[in-house]
Symmetry: C3
Subunit: 430 residues, 3 copies
């Protein structure tokens, strides 16, 4: 079970890292993944680069961040939990009183034991996040005019980079399946690392398979700005080759299965996922595309039109631990991850087996030079040759093998045999 | 009520003019309209110019035309009624006997008080039109060999021009609505001036509107040769931009409402007109495209394919005063014109509000730089931002706002608000 | 009855010729056809020429072939029946014993009186075909070690050619009907000459017709390699112009009528053939496209996509005389051929009369210069002019005359009259 390995890697190595859209956290994360899969290519795109309507942000790094009370006690310490610091906080070195400090202190009154996860990517800001219990404790303990020292040792480098990783498992076909997950959240398990764990397990599984039908393209990207950057670099080839894809997010808990189909709900990956649920007898919740929130937003946008399907367990925004310190490896389990791995693997396998053959030649092929006819042409040509020619007749790049099978009145298994034979003879591509 | 003003202008200034396909009558008519709307552009196209299968005819002008009897009495006088002279009559200065004269004298035995309207644009000819009562009177009064002097002081100038007028009310969108009416009939009210009265009232109305959604293009042209000439000069831009249009003809009487839809009966202007009838609770008669007869013939022809709808009261050819001196301002009334103005205005307004938005960007827009996100990205993004993004997802240039509204599950009013916001942000065009 | 003439020509002049894919037999055959129709163009394509996936084979010729027994008696003599020699047999001059000879001796145990027809176009081979009775006789007569002399005076010339014939009956329209039949089988009547007899009769019939609506293109080709060669030379123009076609094969017996429709069963020639069966009250058997076997294989292949229909009496492979010496003029009769001629002629005629008119002009035509209006434009334009304009309105190159007739509410006969008038005026093409 691959899940075991990547579960441990994620829990012990990846979880503690302070990730964000950019910076050393994401670089370290990509290195750890590359350590598992040396074929992973790590790309960097300079801060400020125009990507469609956006610009790649400055690279953000933090060395330390804390709040000292008047007794020099570290009452909040970023080094204890990444979530304590608002993502993309600007550098700060200030003395504040309690009222001033509390304005930049965030907590969740309804979840008093959880540290919230907050970012301010595109507005210059700083702040700390703590449990509501801790905030109440501070409130009791300190007086209005008590002084606090706030230190944030961060940098926002306009000469930095945005990084992402890409791993391609080449298939026999130019047709591609895109698997996308994100690596921009610090210390969160379901809404982040579950996707990478399942993606890594899928890579491990599919790279063992010698003859992949279709190319599988795995990408590990920061969410939103990462997919936008990736699309701006690769749009034409993706549009030519991607026949479907899966966005993996919040895919590690045990509560339920759920998904969002592609915008017009008719992509090959939609069909493959629905078929996978059915085959595995999995009950699932289908969310409207209007409930989208992850990178399916970019892939399905007008003019991009990559028909990508999102697979979840408990969808982002629907579970109480979402975007808090409680989104951890109590919520995400090996069992939950394994179920998602099995499901996603099945959906990919189904898609792998959907083929739209295209004849490479005009008119019938010259079968004799390929030893497909009996050499002496007696009254009936060989039945096995016959059916090859039947198959080619319908290989117009628009009919799937299932559809061709119906046309030529053979079962799917037989049609696959024929397809394989013709493919090996280079009489078909797909 | 604009109708009042243009009713008077038509009745007292335009009606008496001797118009035809070309000549000073049409030039004078265009000047009068330009006096009301200085933005009207008046174009001239030289006689002889090849326009598709046709040639622009010679410019026809008349200074006088009459018939004298042996006592030098003007028994027929063009100056008393334009219709007395057949349109495009060649110059004549002849002495004829009664039999010879009567061969070129036209009347309507079944409508003895009406002067018929007759033209001979493309065959050299001359003749006079009188009431049948008058013809009977002449028949009694004059003997077979009585002499008559026929004088037609006309000219057919091969170095002349054909004129037409065009007024564009620019909208925010490149998409256009075409409003076409004709100005080539002399002294007829329903089958001519009713169209111009309604067109001018529409211009007056819509030019007050500051932010027209779609461009409205009004043209005042001679019928048939005028629309052919106009199309030959403007075909490509019309085909790119016109999403629907209305041809206005015989639109001033009080008897009924009627229309001819565009050839395949599925244009946006067809739908808008049918919706307007419904909203205004107007009963109407729908004529087959086979009953067409005005410029809808040219607009809908193969290869031109502008989906133009014709709006009538009593359609040409269906009322007894048609093409006679009885087609006057007893038949055409302010009430009849006002009804047609209200209807046409409503249809244009409906069309103005049909929008097919198109996203200007790939992927989602960067909302933060447009202050569309709350600056601190807490757990839920603002609902109002959310729905903007939903709208953009379906803005592919093929779905109307109504259709997008259904997709994103908001009512039409809300969808329009969203559309306006996104349009102002230049995130959509249409 | 043309059939008589070409029946005799085929029976007495064409039947005895030793034809194959290439060589003097096919050249002689084409010359005989050209003698009947001097407009036939004879083409040659050099051996070795690449034609799609194939290469034109070497030119095969035979001057003599026989087997002598030890007493120098010609026990098998190619000059007595072409079928005695396997097609494309390589040259041989050998002494063999009975066992060795018998390995290359083919017969049909179940049809002891028939000489089988066998070829080995693409593998170097030689052999003789005899009746099974004769083989049994030899078996009794000769001993195991008796010697035989085998002489095959054949040549396989790599500097030879493949020949085919093409005859075009130009129609008024660029639209074409393709009639294809093959001329590569030696001495067989149904599976070969029946097609040429019907094709020649059709040429004779249709060339008398002065004003063919559509061009008819007749080709006389070797089967498979011939159609592939022809397509490789003419693909673009065929794809532009061919609106349907008929492949004629095994069309001379009296047993039944049968056919194979084009691949997607919706071509104009499919509809025309089905209509012809119906009009002639002919019962027929419809074979699936999966039962194809003649040149419909090439015409309908992906990327070629010429919608060609095959017309048969007893389809190839379904009758006991098929590919034997019994496929002769006892099986093929004048009556059988005449029925096929009448059927095919009818189908072509139906197709000839299917017209998809296309307006040559934009906007309405200028009818006056064509004397289509009454010269003086009184109240109503002539009804007969009116309907011409109606017809033009729907002449968009996509609607057939039947469809236009429905649109403009006239019967088919009237629509044809209109079409002819407009065509003669050059206002329509098709």
């Amino acid at each position: 079970m691959f899940i075991n390995k990547y579960y441990k890697l994620a829990k012990y190595n990846l979880f503690p890292i302070c990730r964000s859209l950019t910076g050393r956290g994401i670089q370290k994360t990509l290195k750890i993944i590359k350590n598992e899969f040396p074929n992973l290519k790590i790309y960097k795109v300079p801060s400020g680069t125009k990507v469609f309507d956006w610009n790649v942000p400055n690279e953000w790094n933090v060395t330390d961040a804390y709040v000292l009370d008047k007794k020099n006690k570290k009452i909040i310490n970023f080094k204890l939990n990444n979530l304590h610091l608002i993502g993309y906080s600007i550098p700060v070195n200030k003395i504040l009183n309690k009222t001033q400090l509390f304005k930049n202190l965030y907590s969740l009154p309804k979840q008093p034991k959880a540290i919230p996860y907050i970012t301010s990517y595109y507005k210059k800001y700083w702040g700390f996040c703590i449990t509501h219990n801790k905030k109440m404790e501070f409130d009791k303990k300190y007086k209005k005019n008590d002084k606090f020292k706030v230190i944030i040792k961060s940098s926002l480098n306009p000469k930095g980079n945005l990084n992402y990783g890409e791993l391609i498992l080449p298939g026999k076909s130019k047709q591609e399946i895109l698997i996308s997950t994100y690596i921009c959240h610090p210390s969160m398990a379901n809404n982040e690392l579950s996707g990478s764990i399942v993606s890594m397990s899928l890579i491990k599984h599919f790279k063992k398979i010698k003859k992949l039908n279709k190319t599988i393209r795995f990408i590990f990207i920061p969410e939103t700005i990462g997919s936008i950057t990736y699309l701006s670099k690769n749009l034409n080839s993706l549009k030519s080759n991607v026949i479907g894809g899966f966005n993996l997010s919040c895919i590690g808990d045990e509560r339920q299965h759920s998904c969002i189909l592609s915008k017009y709900e008719n992509s090959p990956s939609d069909k493959a996922l629905l078929e996978a649920y059915k085959k595995l007898k999995i009950k699932f919740k289908l969310y409207s595309f209007l409930k989208r929130g992850s990178d399916e937003r970019q892939y399905n946008s007008p003019g991009v039109d990559l028909p990508v399907t999102s697979i979840f367990k408990s969808k982002f925004g629907t579970y109480k631990e979402y975007h808090t310190s409680l989104d951890n490896f109590d919520l995400v389990t090996k069992k939950g991850l394994q179920e998602s791995f099995v499901l996603t693997k099945k959906a990919i396998e189904i898609l792998q087996n959907k083929i739209f053959p295209n004849s490479t030649i005009l008119c019938e092929p010259f079968m004799s030079k390929r030893n497909l006819y009996r050499e002496i042409n007696l009254i009936n040509i060989k039945n096995s040759s016959r059916i090859l020619l039947d198959f080619i007749q319908y290989s117009n790049g628009k009919l799937s093998i299932e559809q061709i099978a119906k046309k030529i009145k053979v079962d799917y298994k037989k049609a696959m045999q024929i397809y394989k034979k013709l493919f090996s003879l280079k009489l078909l591509v797909n």
